[in-house]
């Protein structure tokens, strides 16, 4: 069992998810509320990692981070190391290729909040920012959670981009998916199967927990219900 690889992968996924929340929430909110006519261009850009082969993505990332690029040179001057083949480089790559897996569920969640709720909040004197935290965010919980889980899971599972940008350095960029690939190449099936099974169980556990929580969240009436529904005990109107 390659604990180093597992630990590295979890670290990478956790850091990437945090950054994706910080970057992805504002972008998703803008996408959900903007009426800019060229918004579709941004949407297409965000969705690119969904359709590009990982090797294409990896290639461009290498170009952008390599020793001849401004970014790569800046990093080398700062730390004395190369950006690709480092944890930080892998982190940047992970954030980029998991971007749509965070932003799309976030944007869908924000867009699903009834506009009237936002408008009423404004008319009551509550600022836009405050409205976001008091109304939009609580009502988007389900979608936000989905985005967080998906981006975490996707980062854990990526292979192609990691291989190209990471370089398979143990303890630094040798994630679980790379490690398993290595073991299989070396015909070391026993080691491979241990690591793979662990990852399978872990991922399934996380997903099951998340979807299970979502079911409960759905149940407490997270949407404004149509009028002609609940006549519960005590809710009958008597003439005053």
């Amino acid at each position: 069992m390659d604990w180093m690889a597992i630990w590295l992968t979890l670290r990478l996924a956790a850091c990437a998810t945090v950054i994706l929340c910080l970057l992805g929430l504002p972008v998703a909110h803008w996408l959900a509320t903007s009426t800019w006519r060229w918004r579709f261009l941004i949407e297409a850009t965000v969705a690119l990692p969904l359709v590009l082969p990982p090797t294409v993505l990896g290639f461009y990332l290498l170009l952008a981070m390599g020793p001849h690029s401004p970014l790569g040179q800046y990093y080398a001057a700062l730390t004395g190391h190369l950006l690709p083949f480092s944890f930080q480089g892998l982190l940047i790559a992970s954030v980029l290729y998991s971007f749509p897996f965070a932003v799309q569920p976030f944007a869908a969640a924000f867009a699903s909040v009834d506009h009237d709720l936002v408008h009423v909040s404004w008319s009551l004197g509550v600022s836009r920012l405050s409205t976001f935290f008091r109304v939009v965010l609580p009502l988007s919980r389900v979608g936000l959670l989905t985005g967080v889980v998906l981006s975490f899971a996707h980062t854990v599972g990526e292979f192609g981009v990691v291989l190209m940008v990471g370089g398979n350095i143990p303890g630094v960029t040798r994630t679980v998916s790379i490690a398993i690939y290595d073991e299989v190449q070396a015909l070391n099936y026993a080691a491979a199967s241990e690591t793979a099974l662990f990852l399978l169980v872990f991922s399934f556990g996380v997903l099951a927990l998340t979807y299970g929580m979502q079911r409960r969240v759905w149940g407490d009436g997270a949407r404004t219900l149509p009028q002609a529904t609940r006549w519960q005990e005590g809710a009958v109107d008597a003439p005053q």
Binding site: D116, V135, L139, R223
Partner: protein, 385 residues
């Protein structure tokens, strides 16, 4: 006083309205899609018009000429959307206290309690919106809007989602709320019954324009053109032509009949629409002619009738008429029976000139520039017992 001038176009629809309202309860009335809700949203500040000016109590909320648009947070205009938009994740108390961010917790709770009481919602503080009935949700939505003491309250079809019995009760409640708080309200509806129960002033909308504005009696009994007459279900809209004008009478020719109405300065030959409400067509018993001089007497046959709970609607075909029927007459059941109309199918009707209303024949939008008569100033602060 609210002074509005608005234009907005999109997707083939054009909103172009101007009106002034002051005091009390004003109803924006018209069919769905005529721009009433859009007007409310522009006043609330959630939609930006293309051009225009909105001034409330002398303070401009929107002015396209000066590129001014006050954000909704600072307009102090309450907004209750069509389905109330209660925050589903908050309790009744949290909903009502939502806008009271400047108050300390204790004061906020007190204010919420004060607002629950007139609506009879004490004890509901910890309920969630989905546990409330439609009428209760509406009350909470109202209380929430009132909590921040707005200068003007906008209501979008507040009774549309309720059943008929509840609607009547809540209409009365709304009138009481308005009187109690002395609050100016602007209410959007496509339901004529709302207009009558609530509208001290009515503004009639159609396809993005204002057709008529006035008191409900004016709109109901003296519609300005055929379209408005249709909206208020005038019933009998008769195309006629001016025959001659005399000092005390205007003579019109309708389907070969000569009708007398109150004098108007119209040229002979002008086409007009004449209307008379079905309830105002009088059935005359020829043997019971009174000493009062009668005019506009017409003989006809009852060719159709519809029975309602307590009223009858009769379709009357006049003598020498080729139409299916010419006049609609509505009368109470007891009159129907007293006149024995079940057997007497040939009747004489009188169209009294006071009940005949003459309208110009073209259906163009009319934007009167007559200033609205000021209702005596109603204070905006809540009345305290």
């Amino acid at each position: 006083m609210l002074d509005i001038r608005l234009q907005k176009s999109f997707d083939g629809f054009r909103l172009d309205v101007a009106f002034t309202v002051d005091g009390g309860l004003v109803v924006l009335f018209g069919p769905s899609g005529s721009g009433k809700s859009l007007t409310l949203q522009a006043i609330a500040g959630t939609v930006q018009p293309d051009a225009g000016r909105i001034v409330l109590d002398g303070q401009p909320l929107y002015d396209s000429a000066r590129r001014l648009s006050v954000p909704p947070q600072r307009r102090h205009v309450g907004y209750v959307p069509q389905r109330y938009a209660l925050f589903p994740h908050l309790t009744v108390a949290e909903n009502i206290g939502f806008g009271l961010t400047r108050l300390a917790r204790r004061e906020r709770a007190q204010r919420v309690a004060e607002l629950l009481e007139p609506f009879g919602m004490q004890g509901f503080e910890h309920r969630l919106p989905h546990q409330l009935s439609g009428g209760q949700q509406q009350r909470v939505a109202l209380a929430r809007a009132l909590a921040v003491q707005p200068r003007l309250l906008l209501l979008d079809e507040p009774f549309a989602a309720l059943d008929a019995v509840l609607r009547d009760a809540l209409r009365q409640e709304l009138v009481q709320v308005q009187a109690r708080w002395g609050l100016r309200m602007l209410l959007v509806t496509h339901d004529l019954a709302d207009v009558f129960a609530l509208g001290q002033r009515v503004i009639v909308y159609d396809s993005g324009r204002v057709l008529q504005q006035g008191t409900r009696d004016e709109v109901f009994f003296r519609p300005v053109n055929r379209r408005v007459a249709e909206f208020v279900r005038t019933g009998n809209i008769l195309p006629a032509v001016v025959e001659r004008v005399e000092a005390d009478t205007l003579w019109l020719r309708w389907q070969g009949h000569c009708l007398a109405t109150a004098p108007l300065p119209l040229a002979p030959g002008t086409p007009v629409d004449l209307c008379i409400r079905p309830t105002q067509v009088l059935i005359v018993r020829p043997d019971r002619m009174t000493t009062r001089p009668r005019e506009n007497l017409l003989w006809g046959h009852i060719v159709g009738e519809v029975r309602h709970a307590e009223m009858y609607t009769l379709h009357l075909q006049l003598d020498d008429s080729a139409a299916e029927y010419d006049l609609e007459v509505v009368l109470p059941g007891y009159v129907y029976h007293r006149l024995d109309l079940e057997t007497t199918r040939r009747i004489l009707v009188e169209l009294r000139r006071q009940t005949l209303h003459v309208m110009p024949s073209h259906a163009d939008a009319v934007q009167p520039s007559v200033a609205i008569v000021e209702v005596s100033h109603i204070p905006v602060t809540p009345a305290r017992e």
